[in-house]
Subunit: 268 residues, 2 copies
């Protein structure tokens, strides 16, 4: 992708993400019709839709040839990744939004001919932006994130994962995952895929595995994690298909080989 | 406990907790002998000890008749709860301290003749203090926390818990816990018992269960959760023994009955 064009897209994307976040914060704290605000589920549904529509309007007016692949379906629901595609989750971490009124994110990944060029994950309530351009490093606000720690031993790794991995499931024998949990140093569960990608990039956790995520949950995160030397695949080590749901493993490349090996033992 | 005396203790306890937190922040960010700082494990061990010693010195100089029950063992390691006992975890969430350099807390519970009178949980890096006096409500900094949401259905509850509950363990059949995880709305794992108590009090999660905690992990949290109408027991519904390790369940009283009932089905 042309660097100058990409820089222009990047500047606008950041501006719009911040603007959308401000609207969400205002509606969370400020006056809103009581009917909607009394039910956090209604509020998040409304804001999810409005935020995606906001991005659709902005992108289409400024970059009319770009496509949008968004959770709420107001975009183009593209069937290929040809051209420039904005892959957007307007509110990632819906349960956190509803229950916690924090710990959710706007996630925007911008891909050109299938290549992740820009990743933005905006922790709305904390007002913290994780952002990256391919080949130019990843940042948390103004601070460049260092390369991922060279943790190569499973027993030093903290892994983000939910608890369903340890229940009977279609992907992996739960006994293998129980051994995995005992072998690693620790587990964390934060309830937002986008933020767990951002935390992985930041080194706050050493990796994240998920059973089933959509492109908009991971598109931005993959770009950001790439820029600190991490790697993201499905749990069989295959490249993530940005047009379909997928399992996910993101971490550094040494851990990745070891974790993939462990998961393989129990793969159904 | 005499109200005037308690207010005096409260003011000093808050002052010392903030002072200790400031020292930890300074040592985390500021210059420190390189040898210690290069190894986060050494740093936390050093700060754990120094922070507890700081509290011991402060408490003993100002309230010479008080006892201290602290994780690091610089206090009195009391065998009874007679009199006034400060139950202190200088750094709760050691793994978070080491890996994340945030999401850990100073936890101080002050008990008089076995009754929890004061609870302080200080999220050091966020500079957020959860605090309560028995009968006077719980606060997050200057804002009083409302009573816990009246969630009575398991399927509406987000529960803080680690992943070992779902592995073979000595307490509960893991199959029962797997059903539990599927029945509740969601799970979170934050890696600090004190903060998970604080989040429960705040309504960010609806409860927290743990397999084995020490008095200093829970002493402050119990007081704070009490003040928003919550209840804390072991997983058999018994009062927590502040002189021994214990299982823990903290949540609102309606959820508590339901969760205890579910846990009982698999209790070993």
């Amino acid at each position: 992708m042309d660097k100058k064009l990409r820089d222009d897209i990047y500047i606008h994307a950041i501006e719009w993400v911040r603007e959308a976040g401000e609207v969400i914060r205002d509606k969370m704290y400020g006056p809103l019709d009581i009917e909607t605000k009394s039910n956090a589920n209604d509020l998040v549904t409304k804001l999810d839709k409005e935020t995606e529509q906001f991005f659709v309007a902005k992108v289409k007016s400024k970059f009319s040839g770009h496509f949008i692949h968004g959770e709420e379906g107001y975009g183009d629901s593209p069937t290929s990744l040809d051209g420039t595609v904005w892959i957007i989750d307007p509110i990632d971490g819906t349960m956190n939004f509803v229950h916690q009124k924090r710990n959710f994110a706007i996630s925007v990944g911008i891909y050109h001919d299938g290549v992740g060029e820009i990743g933005l994950i905006y922790d709305v309530m904390a007002n913290v932006l994780y952002h990256a351009k391919k080949g130019e490093g990843a940042y948390k606000d103004d601070v460049q994130l260092p390369s991922l720690p060279e943790i190569g031993n499973i027993n030093e790794a903290i892994i983000g994962m939910n608890h369903f991995w340890l229940c009977e499931n279609k992907l992996i024998e739960e006994q293998v995952m129980q051994k995995f949990v005992k072998d690693i140093r620790g587990t964390r569960t934060y309830g937002s895929a986008a933020l767990e990608f951002a935390y992985t990039a930041e080194g706050i956790i050493d990796g994240y595995i998920s059973m089933r995520l959509s492109p908009w949950d991971v598109a931005a995160g993959i770009v950001i994690v790439n820029e600190v030397g991490g790697i993201t695949t499905d749990i069989d080590g295959k490249i993530v298909n940005m047009l379909d749901k997928s399992t996910i493993l993101t971490c550094n490349s040494v851990l990745q080989k070891k974790i993939l090996g462990m998961l393989k033992e129990g793969r159904k």
